[in-house]
Symmetry: C2
Subunit: 478 residues, 2 copies
C-alpha cells in the first residue's frame, strides 16, 4: 500500500497531527478501499523518519475515531465497519467532488428580500441618516454603569437568572419612564424587553398574523415592518398618509393588524391628530383588529405638547405598544420593548424565549440604572435642545435658500423631516456632484412615489455642516 | 356645565397638568357631549382659585391636542370635530367599560407552549443544572475588554455600522477558532453571528422549514429545538438515540431537516461515532435534507480525541453548523453563531436582519478580542481540567456509593452526564427530602421515558458539594 503523505517539519501543526490529518483526508477522499491494511507504526515511522511514538499517537486517534481498525495480532486496517457508502469521496474538495445539492429554502426565505446597504462615501455629508448624534452620548457614564455590573458579576446578569421577558429592574424602570413621558399606565409585567424594535415587530408578526392575513401599513411607511409582515406571509394593505395621518377608509374587514407610527410618522413626520387616533382605535375595536403602535422616536418633540399614546387612549385594550432606546441613546444598543395587554403577556414571553431566550442582560442592567438615576431624562432634555437648534438651522436654510416652493413636513418632532423641492432633479444632481448623501422617500412607498420628496436627517449633523450642505444644495446663485 | 375636577395642591404634578389630565379623562370617559361649551379660563380660574395663566396653559394643550375647540369670539368647547364614536367611554377604565375583545392569536402562538421555569430553592444543591461555573469566569479581564470598546466608542460598535451577520473581527475570530478546535474550514463570511444558539435554530426553522414539513429530532432530545420546530408548524419525527447515536432508520423520505447534537448528545451525552456521522451525511445527501449540527458543548472533552464536526466531514455541503459561547463562557452572554454553506449566506443574513437587525456589538467586539488574544483557549483549558476533576468525583461516588447497578452515560465530554439508578423511586424521594435538585430525563422524551434516568450537571458545583450531594443521595448506610 502506497501512502504518499507529505509531512512538513517546518509547519506549525505537530507531526502526529499532520499524520492524522492526511490519513483522514485520504480515507475520506476515497483513496483506500475499506479493510485495506495500513503500514504498521514501526514501518511508517521508518519510512518517514519520525519517531514511533509520534506515529502511534496519530494511529490511536484514527482508531478512536473509527477511521482505522486495529485487529489484535494482525495489524491495522482501514475500517471495514463503516457503512457501504463511506469511502466515496465526500470530505475533501476535489475535482471529482460533485456540486453540493441545492438546499431547498422555505417560503419564508423566498419572501425575504436581500439586505439593502447604502454605500456612503467617507467624504460625503449624509443627510439621509435618521439617527441620534453618537458623539453626544455620555459614554464615560455608560461605561461606569456597565462596569459596575461587570464588577458585581451577579448571576442575575450573567447567568440565565432573569426572565425571558427581561431584567426585572429594567421592566420597572421602563414602566415608570413611559408613565412619565407617554402617560402610559402599565405594570412592569406588561413590559416585554426585546432586542430592538425590529424584534418587537417580529414577535407581533409571529403571534398576531397567520399567512394570508392582512396587515395594514402606512403608505409611505417603514420598510422594516412591511417587509417583515410580507415575509411572514401576510398580505399588505396600504393606508395612504395625509396631513392627518394614515387613512382609515383604506382598511378592510379582513385587516387583522394595523401598524402605525402616530407620534412622528415614518417617513413623512406627520403626527396623527387625536381625532384620527380615536377613530382608528374605534375601527380596530369594531373589527377585532390589533393596533401596533410603533413609537420609535416620540421623545424629541419641538413644537406643541406630545399627543397621548394610542395605548394610553385605549387603556391598552387592543393596542400593542413598541418603544426603543436606539433613537434616544445609540443605535448599536439593541434594546427595545413592547407593552402588551395582560392577556398577551404569556404568549409574548413564550415567543421571546423561543426566539432567543432573552436579551443580553449586561446592557439591560446598565440601562435600568441609566433610567433610574435620571441620566436618560437628562440626556433626552439635552439632545432635544441640540436637535431643535439643528432643526431650526434646516428650516431657516430651506426657507432662505430655496424660497416659497419648498414644502416641509414632519418638523415638529423626531430626528428627521421631509421636504419637497420644486425642482427635484436639479437638487439630486447637485447633491451627487457635491458629495451630499440625500435620500428620496421613494424607498418607503409601496405604490407610486412622489418624485420630489426627500428625507433630511438633521440630528446627527452639526450646525455648520448642515449650513454648508444645504447652501451647497441650493446651488451657486444665492 | 358642571366641572367637578379635584385639584390637589400637595401633589407632585403641577396644577396645569392636573387640570389637563382631568379634563382629558372626563372627555374620554364620555362625561361631556361634543360641542359642549366649557368654562372660560377666567371663570375656571376663579372657580378653583388658581391663576389664570395656569388654566390657560392647560387649555392650550387641550386645544392643541384636539380635545377642546376654541372658536374666536365665542369661547371654548369640547371638540365637535371628533368622529361620531369618540365620546363613548374608551379611555378610562370604569364599571361601564366593556371587557376588551379577546385578541385572536396566530397558529404560531397556539403551537407555542408556555415557558417552563424550574423553581430551585435557595438552600438546595442543584444537580440538574447544565451550566458552566460562573464563579470561575475571568470577569475582571472581561470587564477590561468591554471597557476598552466603551472607551473607544467607535461607530463600528455603537452605531449600526456592522453588518447584520455580525462584527467583522468576531466572524474572523470564530472562523479561526473553529478551524483550530473543530477542523472546520470556512471563510469568515460563512459565519453568521446570532444572539445565542436558540436564535440560530430559529433562523434555520424559518429558512429551512415550511409548515407541514417534517423535522427529525433526537429522542430524547433538546426541547428548545423540538418546541421551536413544532411552533413553526413542522411535524416532528423522533430518532431514538442508542449508544451509537440517533437511529437513521427512523428517518423518512419526507424529512427535510435533521437536528443532531453529535459531539455530546443532549441529554444522554453519547457521542455519535464516525460511521453514524457518515451514514447520516450520506442519507441527507441522498434525500436532499439538511443536517443541523448543534455543537452546543464540544469544547469540553475528557476522554478520547474529539471527533471531527459533521460540517468538516461534509466540507459543509448540506450541513448547517451551530455553535455557542454560553457553555464556554457564561450563559448570560447571548452570542452564538452559524456556519452556513456559501449559497445560504444571503438568506441567513437577510433573516437575521429581519429578526433583530444585529446582535449587540459591544459584546461581539469584546468577544473578538477575548478569542484573538488567546483568553478563550486558556479559559477552556482551565475549565476542562476543573470540570474533569468534578466529573471524576461524580464517577467515583457513583461507583462507590451506588454499586454496580448504576449505568452512567455521556461522561466523556460536556457539562453533564446521565445516570440510571437501579432504585429510582428511592433516589427521588431522598433527593427531595435532602434538598437536592435532581432532574429526570423524562422532560426530554417525546414518547415514553425510562423511569430511572437522571441528569447530573457537575460543572458548576464544587467537589466538596458534589461529594456531599451524592453521598446524601446514596442513603444513610455507607
Amino acid at each position: 500500500m502506497e501512502v504518499p503523505l507529505a509531512l512538513d517539519r517546518a509547519a506549525a501543526a505537530p507531526l502526529h497531527r499532520q499524520i492524522y490529518d492526511q490519513w483522514r483526508a485520504a480515507i475520506l477522499g476515497g483513496r483506500f478501499r475499506r479493510g485495506a491494511r495500513v503500514p504498521s507504526t514501526r514501518a511508517f515511522a521508518a519510512a518517514y523518519g519520525v519517531s514511533r511514538l509520534t506515529v502511534t499517537a496519530a494511529y490511536e486517534q484514527l482508531v478512536a475515531e473509527g477511521y482505522f481498525e486495529a485487529r489484535r495480532g494482525s495489524g491495522t486496517f482501514v475500517s471495514s465497519e463503516l457503512p457501504d457508502e463511506t469511502l466515496r469521496p465526500i470530505g475533501v474538495p476535489s475535482a471529482a467532488h460533485a456540486a453540493p445539492p441545492r438546499i431547498r429554502l422555505s417560503r419564508y426565505a423566498s419572501r425575504l428580500g436581500g439586505v439593502r446597504r447604502l454605500v456612503v462615501s467617507a467624504r460625503s455629508i449624509n443627510l439621509s441618516k435618521v439617527s441620534p448624534d453618537l458623539t453626544r452620548f455620555p459614554f464615560p457614564l455608560w461605561r461606569r454603569l456597565v462596569s459596575r455590573h461587570l464588577r458585581r458579576a451577579s448571576p442575575d446578569v450573567f447567568d440565565h437568572g432573569a426572565q425571558p421577558a427581561g431584567h426585572q429592574g429594567l421592566r420597572a424602570a421602563i414602566a415608570a419612564h413611559i408613565a412619565r413621558t407617554r402617560a402610559i399606565r402599565c405594570s412592569p409585567s406588561q413590559v416585554i424587553v426585546v432586542s430592538g424594535s425590529q424584534q418587537a415587530l417580529d414577535l407581533c408578526a409571529r403571534l398576531l398574523l397567520d399567512p394570508g392575513d392582512e396587515a395594514a401599513v402606512e403608505e409611505p411607511g417603514y420598510p422594516g415592518a412591511r417587509q417583515l409582515f410580507a415575509a411572514h406571509g401576510a398580505s399588505l394593505r396600504a393606508m395612504p398618509v395625509g396631513d392627518a395621518g394614515p387613512s382609515i377608509d383604506a382598511l378592510s374587514h379582513r385587516t387583522r393588524l394595523v401598524h402605525v407610527t402616530p407620534s412622528h410618522q415614518f417617513p413623512t413626520g406627520v403626527s396623527m391628530p387625536l381625532a384620527r387616533r380615536l377613530e382608528l382605535l374605534d375601527w380596530a375595536r369594531t373589527h377585532a383588529a390589533v393596533v401596533l403602535e410603533d413609537d420609535y422616536d416620540s421623545d424629541y418633540r419641538y413644537s406643541g405638547p406630545p399627543l397621548p399614546a394610542m395605548y394610553s387612549l385605549a387603556s391598552g385594550a387592543g393596542v400593542v405598544y413598541v418603544g426603543t432606546f436606539s433613537n434616544v441613546m445609540f443605535r448599536g444598543l439593541r434594546i427595545g420593548y413592547l407593552v402588551v395587554p395582560d392577556e398577551l403577556i404569556g404568549a409574548f414571553t413564550a415567543a421571546k424565549w423561543m426566539a432567543d431566550r432573552h436579551t443580553t442582560l449586561l446592557e439591560q442592567a446598565a440601562l435600568a440604572d441609566f433610567i433610574d438615576e435620571g441620566h436618560l431624562d437628562r440626556h433626552i432634555r439635552r439632545m432635544r435642545r441640540l436637535y431643535q437648534r439643528r432643526r431650526d438651522v434646516v428650516l431657516e436654510l430651506l426657507g432662505r435658500s430655496f424660497g416659497p416652493g419648498v414644502v416641509v413636513r414632519g418638523d415638529a418632532a423626531g430626528l428627521h423631516l421631509t421636504v419637497r423641492f420644486p425642482r427635484a432633479a436639479a437638487i439630486s444632481v447637485r447633491a451627487e456632484r457635491r458629495g451630499i448623501q440625500l435620500s428620496s422617500t421613494a424607498l418607503y412607498y409601496l405604490g407610486r412615489p412622489p418624485r420630489s420628496e426627500f428625507i433630511i436627517g438633521f440630528a446627527a449633523i452639526g450646525e455648520r455642516t448642515l449650513r454648508a450642505a444645504l447652501s451647497s444644495l441650493a446651488g451657486p446663485a444665492r
